[in-house]
Every structure is written in C-alpha cells, then in structure tokens.
Symmetry: C2
Subunit: 302 residues, 2 copies
Amino acid sequence: MPDVTLVEVGPRDGFQPIGPFIPTAEKLAIIQGCVAAGLTRIEAGAFVGASAVPQMADAEAILAGTLALPGADPQMLVPNARHARRAIAAGARHLVWVISVSEAHNRGNIRLSPAESVAEFTALLPELEGIRLRMNIATAFDCPFTGRVAPEDTLALVGQLAALRPDAEYGLCDTTGRADPAHVAELAAACRASFPRVAGWAFHGHDTYGLGLANIMAAHGAGIRVFDAAIAGLGGCPFAPGATGNVATEDAAWMFARMGLSTGIDLGALRPVAERAARIPGGSPGGRVRQALAARPAHLAA
Amino acid sequence: MPDVTLVEVGPRDGFQPIGPFIPTAEKLAIIQGCVAAGLTRIEAGAFVGASAVPQMADAEAILAGTLALPGADPQMLVPNARHARRAIAAGARHLVWVISVSEAHNRGNIRLSPAESVAEFTALLPELEGIRLRMNIATAFDCPFTGRVAPEDTLALVGQLAALRPDAEYGLCDTTGRADPAHVAELAAACRASFPRVAGWAFHGHDTYGLGLANIMAAHGAGIRVFDAAIAGLGGCPFAPGATGNVATEDAAWMFARMGLSTGIDLGALRPVAERAARIPGGSPGGRVRQALAARPAHLAA
C-alpha cells in the first residue's frame, strides 16, 4: 500500500470543460499513460447527458478501454439513477455519485435539490449492491453562487449518506478552489471524528487560487490519504481566464515524493503523459512541475 | 500586531532578474502602492555590484524614496561589508545580510566561503550597532548545485550567527523552491527549539514547483509568523521557463484572509499594484489570485 493515493481525475474533471472534442483514442492513450505511470485509480469519464457535457459522450468506449488496461480501476461519475444504470449496464463496477451540499449548486448541476438527490440515491441502493462507491460531496466548503458553506451543513449531508453506505469513500470537494487550509483541516477532522464507521475519505481540490497543494497538505494533516488530481492541471474553463483546474497530478506526485511518501507513481513515466495532456487543443493546463523540470538540466531534474 | 506579517520582497528578489531596466520612478510607484496597501515591511532593493546586478544600480534613490513614505520600513539586502557600509551611508537602518549554507552557492553568489562570510560579518559588527538585521540563510533546504542541504549544516550556520546577533530576525530561505512541507516544518521547528533566544524567524520560499503556499503553511504550523512574498509572483528568470519567483504576495494575502488571519493588507488596494507589477516588461509574473479574481464577477471577488 502506498502512503498516499492519488486518483487521476483529469479524464473526467479535466477534459469535461474542453470545447473541441478530444478523440476517444487520444483520451485512451492518456489514460493508458497514466495507468502505466502508476495512477491505477482513474476517473475515466462521466455518464451524463451528452447534450449537457458533449465531451463525455464516449463514456461507454472510454470505460471499456480503461477496463481492458491491466491494473486499472476506473471510476465513472454519475449524477443520478438513470445515468448510474447506464454506467452499470456498460460494465462499471466503481461509481462516483456526486451531490452538492449547496441547494443552488445541486439544482444547477443536477436539477434536483440535495434532498431529492439523496432520495434518488436511496431508491437506487438495491441496484448498487457489489458496486464500489465514491460519494463526492460537492460544495463541501464553498458554493459559486452562495459563498462559504457551513460545516454543519456538510456534516449533515455526509451523515445521511454515510448511514446508507458507510463502506463508501467520501470525497470532500472544494468545487470553487476557495477553501483554505484551516477550513480543510477543520472539516476533514470533523468528518473523520463524526463518522468513524466510514470506510474512506478523500479530498478533491482545485488550484484556482493557488491553494491546491496547501489544502492537500491540510487534509493530509487531518488524516486523509486519498487525493484527486488532474494530469497537467487540466480543468480550467477556457472562457474564464484564471478559473483553473484541479491540482496538477505531477505537482502532487512531486510534492509527496520530495516528502518521502510513496504514491506508487513513476514521475519519469508521468512527465511525457502530462506534456501530452497539456497540448490538448482547447485545454487550459496548470501546475508548475512540468515547466520547472523542463527548465532544469537532466541530472538535477530528479 | 497582525497575526501574520508579509514582507514584500518583489522590489529586490522580483525585480533583480528582470533584464530591461525598470525606471526608478516605476519602481518607487510600485513600492508606494505596496506600502499604501499595508505592506510596510518592504525589501526595497539591494546594495550589490552594479555590474553583477544592473537592475539594483539605483539602490540609493530607491532607499531614499522608500524612507520618505509614511510607515514604510525598508530593508536593503547586502552581500558583504563593503556594500553594507554603502547602504548605511545611504541611510539604511534595516539590512538583510545574506549568507548561504552551501559553500558552492555562497561562492557563486558572494565569492566567499560561508566561513569567510561569517568572519566578514563578525568584523563588521561594531558598525552594525543600531542597525536592525534580517539574516537570510540561503540554501537552508536545498542548493541548486549540490541538492538537499542537511538540517545540521543549516543549524550550525544559524548557531554561529545567532551567537553574534540573537536580536536579528533569521530568514530560512528555500532558494530553489525544492523544499517540501515536511522539510520546512522539521527545520523550522528545529531552529526555534535550538535557538530560543533568537528574536524572530521568517520563511522565504519560492513557488518554482508550486509548493510556495504549502511551505508557508508548514512554516506557520511550526510557529513562524513572518513570510517573504513578491508582488505578482515576480522573480522568475525570463531565460529559464518555469524558474518562477517568490510566492505571489496577493496569493499569500488572500490565503491568510480566507483563514481569518490578519495581515494588515488591503487586498483591494493591492490588486491594481499587482496588475501593474505583472505588466513590467521582461518580467515573468506568477501566482493565481490575480487571474482568479479578474475572472469573477465583482460581487463574488471578495
């Protein structure tokens, strides 16, 4: 077991806002590169409405291609029961159910209130036996429409879901990138203390305000050991300069390697994959390590 | 007293690598903007060889202009006795003495061994009475030529200097940006425990690998409350893509504000100064907050 696990979410959260359709073969090549570099947990795509998110229209093919990779553990994001059934029918055995603490955000994202999303999830439970679950708690810290989210509200939603599926992994998602290290440390500690039966915790951050790695460290300090990250820091919106993506996987991998913590990732193998992902037309790559290592003589790049 | 103090080092560390000479009036306008926004501690420039660092050739005028600003506390970097005397003669009352733990780096930077730098500092002491001192311990973590620096070596150098001037503020400098949060936390804690008579500690980081804010948080966790930062994240070398500068002052100010910690900085007043600094010809601006706030509607930018 590595000391820390990075979940590669670039193929979902990173590709999703990119306008020009990324050919399925190119997506699979990047996924294959990530898995080969040790990123075996990979959010390969989302089963969502193809009109809402055209970039995810090839979810079936992406799932099939990723399942065929030795060692790969693809998790597929689903927003509701209909799409969860599609994912399961396509062979998914690991789903990411996303639900927002903020009513405004859940309505914008899924067109349901959080309570309606919980009810839909509850009704679906019999069909989720044997399906591994990541429960992504969106706007756990901050909502783009209503600002800071009270920790009590996040704890209340986690509590409802944890009573149903304590065996799931719960992801505390900083949807806006506006969580700060103190907020992350406080909420992560409160969640772990409040729900000791929950099997696993994860932190999903964005680097919009540059706090991605600082927030990961805060979550790590509170005992979380699973972190989402996106290859090349993809995920920014090309139409909103500065609305950057997830923490760059290579930056997080580099940080943990410098700290002497194992991630199972071969950074040398990951670098060309990150360079390839950064060149995707229409993307807004982020992160620092790609450029920092490229600027160094080879013997000092390690 | 603010909870946390940011020292604005952009006019020295940020401007220094910029090729085209920044007009003295432009430098002073940015310094004035920083001071007006609450960055009263400001590393306004360096007294160094004008042939080695042409950008710092106007140090006397910059010092005089900064001393004239109400509330400003300019600190001037000096590498040796000769330049320290120049700075004092020009009216400096707050000096930054820089010395590297790494012999290779000190020789490259100052053309002396660390022991020779200590001897020169010791001989100068009678002339430094009444002069406030920041002792910048360069390569405290990592050297661009020889890699990771052993904590014992850093502690040994700090110990020699602290015996001479325990009233100084000691700056642990991550010269290469390759320190990681665990390394920062460990060394900062060891320094504070080993030298309890030292009056103050500071951390000076670079964001080259994206760890600037994570390392600041690690230093904060170890009890350090003074952090160097550069407006607009200046400091990168235009000829080495990815060799980025200090942590952006506006990013650090934004982070601490989100955490509810006071810095005395008015971020609204700082933003236009950061935008101005980012437009300096030949600079390599960094940081995230400038762009993130620019991308947001005004009512959500707070």
